[in-house]
Structure formats: structure tokens, C-alpha cells
């Protein structure tokens, strides 16, 4: 029996010829990531260890993105603690707010992850880098501490599900709709402990930003990781952003997949996940009349340049509904700058949006757009759990940037086609 793409990467990093699903291995890490919520806990754990220094100061990334610019005194203390550790350990990839971004958009952009890498991050959406053909997965702070100290982590080799993507998505269907459709299909624990391997000629029709969005939400199906094969687009992206060496792994022809799903991209419609689980999906023609108070466009799922371009295309020359709050938060400073240069930010502001500095803020109900009781939001983020964006009695609907922008204009959940686009 052959190995999946994920299994091949893990075997290579564990220094063994082959691995099988269920096997426990110890793998070498190419990068260890933490943020201002999880890294302080990890640093405290590391202080309890006999090992004093990080295993490689170039292979740690620390990104203050969750409660930054610091929302209050406690979050400022957390950031200070992480910053002091970064300075003390001379961590190369520590990013202060002016060069910052939401970690999962930032790391690929800074060229810190490339195809073939094994990455752990103390943040569940670390699985995003699977878009680059890397094995990356979220862990907790203790794993991060151990990873920073030893450069290794233990893994149980995952079994895998295969998703064969075929055809070309229609005009307003994006990576977000594809992954929401898949989560609706298999459920929030449909890929529990497993890899989601995406293959098929439909991938050629997906941009890197689409792929990042899809891999980002693998965790929302319970997966350990989501991964894409390496193609010309991947290589072009990596070469533009990184000098690191690319290693391309391919799944064996006879690799073992627990199940194979075929997804015809052309048949998909814009999709919305209703509260309070990402699996509660409905296509745009089935949503009914749902009035919305706030629209949030951004995050590590959909805060990339292409997402902002799509949103601007919908908002261009339009005004958002009376009483609507539209918050746009580009994922990194570089995206923010590009969006400014392209005039996207002025489109947003003219439409009646506020544009925020890169931060996780509204995505996790942290700051910059917290919901009151009874309020409803459409968000391009990845989680719509109870209380995720604020009060326990608020509601979050997950959607693509196109649907989010159209909703801001219509005042109720709508697709761009309803605006005549």
C-alpha cells in the first residue's frame, strides 16, 4: 500500500522510509508558530524546561495578531511578554504591528513556509499552509513550547480523505463556497483526525488565494491538515515570496484513502453557513429573508487581496444599507497597502465601510466589532460558534467576500446577482 502526500512528508521528516496511518512518530519541524494568545502560555511552559534556548531562532515565528494593536492592559502585558522573549531569544521572525498581519496570511507572504515543510502552530488555522503543499497543523501551547525547545513534535500519522475537484466554478463561486460546501457535506467532524487531500483538474481553476481559503477551513471539518498538490501556480507563488528550497511530494498511485468524494465545481452555488456550526450550509437561493446588522470582510480565511478585490467589485459605486455596519480588515500590511494603491480602500470607504488595520479582532469577538445580544452578522471568517463574535445571543453567518459585500448593500443575506451583477 502506498502513502498519501501527507504521509510522505511526515515519513521524510521522521527519517523513516514509510509510515502508516495510526503510527506514532516524532518529526523534525521546519517552523513553529505562535501568537499573542498562545505564545505567552508556551513561553511560560518553556520556562519550566531544562532546555533554555529555542532550537533555531530562524525557525520560530511569533505574530502578535489577536488582540493587537493592544486592546487593553492585559493584552498589552501578553504582547510585552512575547516581545521580550522574542528579543531575548533573537527570534528572526517576530513581527511588530507595523509589519504584521494575521499569522496565516502573513507566513506564506513572508516566504516562511514552502512546499514539503512540516509546520506546527499554536493556532488551529495553521492548516492553511497546506495550500502550498506543506504539512501544517494546529497544536496547543505546550506542543509549541516543546517544538520551540526541541524542534520536534509527536504525531499520529493520519488516515486520509480524498476530494477530487472537477471543472470550473461559476462567476461568484470562490474557494470559500467550495470549502463550505464540503463541510456541509461531511460535517464538522467529517474528517476528524484525518488529512483532507485535494486533487483533480479543478484545482487548476483555483487561485492560490482560493486554495489558502480551502486549506484554512480543513480544521472546520475536524481535519488534522488539508493539502494541495504542488503545481505551476504553487511554484510561482513560492518563488515570488521565498528563497527556501521546495520539496515536492506526490501521493502514491495506490495510496490508501478512507473515502473519495468527487466535487463538480461547476455545479456549486454561493454557500452560506448558518449559526452555530460551519456545517449548517445552505446555497444562496435557499437562505430566505435574513436581516443583517453587521458584515465583516477579512480574517485569515478571506482577508487576502483577491478577496478584497471581489468585495470592491460588488461595492463599487454602491452604498451599504441604512443601519448596516461594514467592517473590512485586510489580513496583512502588504495587502492593506496594495488595496490602498489599487483604490479598493476608497471604494470601501465611499460605500460606507470602516477599514481596520490587520488584526484578528472581530473574527474572534475580541475587539473592533463585537456583537450585541440579538445581532446578526455575515462574516467571511471561519467559525460561527455560539458567542464567537460577541454576545452568546448573537448570530454569525459565514459566507464568501462576494456574498458578504452584497449583503452589506442589501441589508439582508444576498448574493451579488441580486444586485444585478
Amino acid at each position: 500500500m502506498g502513502m498519501t502526500m501527507t504521509q510522505k512528508i511526515l515519513a521524510a521528516h521522521a527519517g523513516v522510509e514509510r509510515v502508516t496511518a495510526g503510527q506514532l512518530i516524532e518529526a523534525d519541524l521546519d517552523l513553529v508558530l505562535g501568537n499573542d494568545v498562545t505564545a505567552p502560555v508556551a513561553i511560560k511552559e518553556m520556562e519550566k524546561m531544562k532546555i533554555r534556548n529555542v532550537f533555531d531562532k530562524n525557525k520560530i515565528a511569533l505574530v502578535p495578531d489577536h488582540f493587537t494593536p493592544n486592546k487593553d492592559i492585559k493584552s498589552a502585558q501578553n504582547c510585552k511578554y512575547m516581545r521580550e522573549f522574542a528579543m531575548d531569544q533573537e527570534i528572526t521572525n517576530y513581527f511588530e504591528i507595523g509589519e504584521m498581519g494575521i499569522e496565516h496570511a502573513l507566513l506564506p507572504e513572508k516566504g516562511l513556509v514552502v512546499a514539503g515543510d512540516v509546520v506546527i502552530g499554536a493556532d488551529s488555522h495553521t492548516c492553511t499552509y497546506g495550500a502550498l503543499g506543506a504539512f501544517s497543523t494546529g497544536v496547543g501551547s505546550t506542543d509549541m513550547a516543546a517544538g520551540m525547545a526541541t524542534g520536534k513534535a509527536w504525531f499520529k500519522v493520519p488516515a486520509a480523505l480524498r476530494f477530487v475537484l472537477k471543472g470550473k466554478p461559476s462567476k461568484w463561486v470562490s474557494g470559500k463556497d467550495i470549502i463550505l460546501h464540503i463541510i456541509g457535506l461531511i460535517g464538522v467532524d467529517g474528517a476528524l483526525y484525518k488529512s483532507m487531500e485535494f486533487v483533480g483538474d479543478g484545482i487548476n481553476n483555483l487561485s492560490m488565494d482560493d486554495r489558502f481559503t480551502i486549506a484554512n477551513m480543513a480544521i472546520e471539518a475536524g481535519a488534522k491538515n488539508g493539502i494541495f498538490p504542488v503545481d505551476e501556480k504553487t511554484i510561482r507563488y513560492i518563488k515570488e515570496h521565498s528563497n527556501k528550497k521546495i520539496t515536492e511530494y506526490k501521493a502514491d498511485e495506490d495510496a490508501d484513502y478512507e473515502k473519495t468524494y468527487e466535487i463538480d465545481l461547476a455545479s456549486l452555488k454561493p454557500t452560506v453557513a448558518f449559526p452555530h456550526l460551519p456545517e449548517n450550509t445552505r446555497t444562496i437561493d435557499q437562505v430566505g429573508d435574513i436581516k443583517i446588522d453587521q458584515v465583516v470582510i477579512g480574517s485569515c480565511t478571506n482577508g487576502r487581496l483577491e478577496d478584497l478585490r471581489i468585495a470592491a467589485r460588488v461595492l463599487e459605486g454602491r452604498k451599504i444599507a441604512k443601519g448596516m455596519r461594514l467592517i473590512v480588515f485586510p489580513a496583512t500590511q502588504k495587502i492593506y497597502l496594495k488595496a490602498m494603491e489599487e483604490g479598493l480602500l476608497s471604494t470601501f470607504i465611499k460605500a460606507g465601510a470602516v477599514v481596520s488595520t490587520p488584526t484578528c479582532g472581530p473574527c474572534l469577538g475580541g475587539h473592533m466589532g463585537v456583537l450585541a445580544a440579538g445581532e446578526r452578522a455575515v462574516a467571511t471568517t471561519n467559525r460561527n460558534f455560539v458567542g464567537r463574535m460577541g454576545h452568546v445571543d448573537s448570530e454569525v453567518y459565514l459566507a464568501s467576500p462576494a456574498v458578504a459585500a452584497a449583503t452589506a448593500v442589501a441589508g439582508r443575506i444576498s448574493g451579488p446577482e441580486e444586485l444585478g451583477l
Binding site: 502560555v41 495553521t126 506542543d143 483526525y193 456550526l277 475580541g366 455560539v386
Partner: protein, 162 residues
């Protein structure tokens, strides 16, 4: 190693956002976190929970965010063991890594009701429902994880190995 206490029961997909909402993540102090544990799913949990009690849930417990604050809050609230049909994988790792015993057992997770008195024998992976007079066989940990749990967490384990 054993746990003995009263069961607190929850359903499917209890996520880390309801176990400890992000608005409380500005601290990592276990006691402070424990004082908000389960607040968005069960406001009264912190008042009811007694040292040694057992948390029982159905599918995919601990899904969502990787925040280790979630198992830390549960452990600091006095819970001695979490039993579930299945756990979300990051939560599973985190619980082991911080030394919060957890055990997968679909039968127990379905059968145990709130208020039942439950005993867990970790070495054998057996769960006893003392109220109902039944027992269930849970999944035993692989040896590698047992070592981590016996060292009371990954950090101690690494210290003892190095």
C-alpha cells in the same frame, strides 16, 4: 490512577469558544480561566462543579480553536476526567500535554446522565457508572501517551528524557 465524581453532561460539538470564550483569553491564569469555564454553554457550571467531578460529552468535544486555555480551564475548575464519544484532535493533544485525563468511550458518553456518580480507572480504561451499576470499556492510551500522562504532561516528560 483513578477519578471519582459526579457527571456533568453535554452534547455534540462542544467547542473551545464556549468552554472559554475568546473575550477571556487575555489571561492565562488557570484560576481566572476556571472562573469562566463553560460560561457560554452552561452559566451555572462554575457554581455546581466540585473537585473530582467528571465531564461527559458526546461527539467532537473541544472542536474549534486550539486554545490550551480550554483544557486548562477545565482542569483548574476541578474536573478530574473528560469522557466523550470523540474528541477534536487539537483538544485531545492539549489535554494530554497538560495532564488532563481524557477518555474516548461512545457507550459511556451516551449512557451516563448528569448527576450520575462515575469512577474511571485509567490503567484499565474502564469506566464505572456507580449510580446505574454499569461499566463501560473505554479506549486505553497508547504507551507513548501513557508516559506523557504519567509524567503529568509533555514538559515534565521532555525534562525527564533530556
Amino acid at each position: 490512577m483513578k477519578a471519582l465524581g459526579i457527571a456533568h453532561k453535554y452534547g455534540d460539538n462542544v467547542d473551545t469558544d464556549v468552554i472559554i470564550p475568546a473575550r477571556y483569553l487575555i489571561t492565562s491564569d488557570p484560576k481566572e480561566l476556571a472562573s469562566k469555564c463553560m460560561i457560554d454553554i452552561d452559566k451555572d457550571f462554575v457554581n455546581r462543579v466540585q473537585e473530582g467531578d467528571i465531564l461527559v460529552a458526546k461527539k467532537n468535544f473541544g472542536c474549534g480553536s486550539s486554545r490550551e486555555h480550554a483544557p486548562i480551564a477545565i482542569k483548574a475548575s476541578g474536573i478530574s476526567c473528560v469522557i466523550a464519544e470523540t474528541f477534536a484532535r487539537i483538544f485531545y493533544r492539549n489535554a494530554i500535554n497538560i495532564g488532563l485525563p481524557i477518555i474516548e468511550c461512545p457507550e459511556a458518553a451516551r449512557d451516563i446522565e448528569a448527576g450520575d456518580q462515575v469512577e474511571v480507572n485509567f490503567d484499565k480504561g474502564i469506566i464505572y457508572n456507580l449510580t446505574k451499576g454499569r461499566q463501560y470499556q473505554g479506549q486505553a492510551f497508547p504507551e507513548f501517551m501513557q508516559k506523557i500522562i504519567k509524567s503529568e504532561g509533555l514538559i515534565n516528560y521532555i525534562n525527564s528524557e533530556s
